[in-house]
Symmetry: C2
Subunit: 187 residues, 2 copies
DNA sequence: ACCTTAAAGCAAAATCATTGCGTCTAGCGA
DNA sequence: TCGCTAGACGCAATGATTTTGCTTTAAGGT
């Protein structure tokens, strides 16, 4: 259940950071599939029981780390027009998510507690970014589709292909989806 | 890696059937999260090492079972027109997949060997059903979108919401997606 | 009917997961 | 500032799962 810190500062925070960093490092050293709780714990300098107590099991931990990694670290760029903003965002999204590492993170995020908000978090990140882009466009006076429409027509299809048919995805696909949605709503 | 049978008939097949059945039964008796390899093996009347040798780990086994369960057992119904056929199919698809059990199967299917074709299989099942519907409509002389378009505009969005935002999904959503795609291609 | 070999059983060893209990420390009120 | 207190961690014992070497079984071909 991804027990969150009750005491944000201090040791608790250090342990969390240390464990997250350990997952991160080991994932690239030995591969995601070779991760085990004892291995991560040793690298993090904590005991396995600490990890089990805080995260429950390896899946929860990985899910937790994945969500953090999937959080966008920067606001969508401003290219002056909705079409360019959305296209650039979709291209970058697809590029990051379609890489093997990105796919792993997504799958891990889907695995956390079923009712837990981990997958929902990821969805919310994307929705926030899209909302930001659309709001900015609206302030420019552009006619915009709403967030749900963009999710249905751009994010959904991209994610489906990333998860279920990871081959043959490229930036042109993202551009096509964006072009189609703007064509039916835009100027 | 979901080692397939090299010897289709005989003991190998019986073991596979027995193990699959055991997963199935136990999943409904004790819940999917309580499944363990030893438990499944005992119910199936095999030794755990057999399961580990054939499937590698529990995830692969569940993924294998999930794909089998997700295979449609019946051809899409004929309602006389593309719009009704597609709508009915989408409604049923959403209904089955959005239920907790369906979501579990999908998530399990996504977990198999990353390069393995388990997730791809599921996608292919849907594509086949859609192709069947579209081909039948074309034979009636109706103008139809192509399969990829239906996947992008109907299956992708539905699957995204099932996986990432499982709340507030209903048949009306499926109907809306189908209506929108036919509106832009159809009569 | 015999041979070959993939696949299953068996059992020991290794690794991982779980849990009770004592210790420590961050955060809080006096 | 100085204790309190409760949550979080470490340690260590216990139980369960996973892995592995070796043996046995039986399917499929000759």
């Amino acid at each position: 259940m991804s027990r969150q810190m009750v005491r944000p500062g201090g040791r608790s925070a250090r342990v969390q950071a240390s464990v997250h960093a350990a997952v991160h490092e080991l994932a690239s050293e030995v591969g995601r599939d070779a991760l085990t709780v004892p291995l991560v714990a040793q690298r993090a300098g904590v005991t396995p029981s600490t990890v089990y107590r805080r995260w429950g099991d390896l899946q929860e931990l990985l899910s937790d780390v994945a969500v953090k990694r999937l959080r966008p670290d920067t606001a969508p760029g401003d290219h002056g027009a909705l079409a360019s903003d959305l296209t650039a965002w979709a291209e970058q999204f697809l590029d990051e998510m379609a890489h093997p590492a990105g796919r792993s993170y997504i799958r891990d995020a889907l695995l956390g507690d079923p009712d837990g908000s981990n997958a929902g978090q990821c969805s919310a990140y994307a929705a926030d970014q899209i909302d930001f882009i659309l709001t900015r466009a609206a302030e420019r006076g552009e006619k915009t589709p709403d967030v749900e429409t963009v999710i249905d027509r751009v994010v959904g299809p991209m994610m489906y292909r990333i998860l279920f048919r990871p081959d043959g995805l490229d930036a042109a696909y993202a551009r096509r989806l964006v072009a189609e949605i703007l064509g039916s709503t835009g100027p």
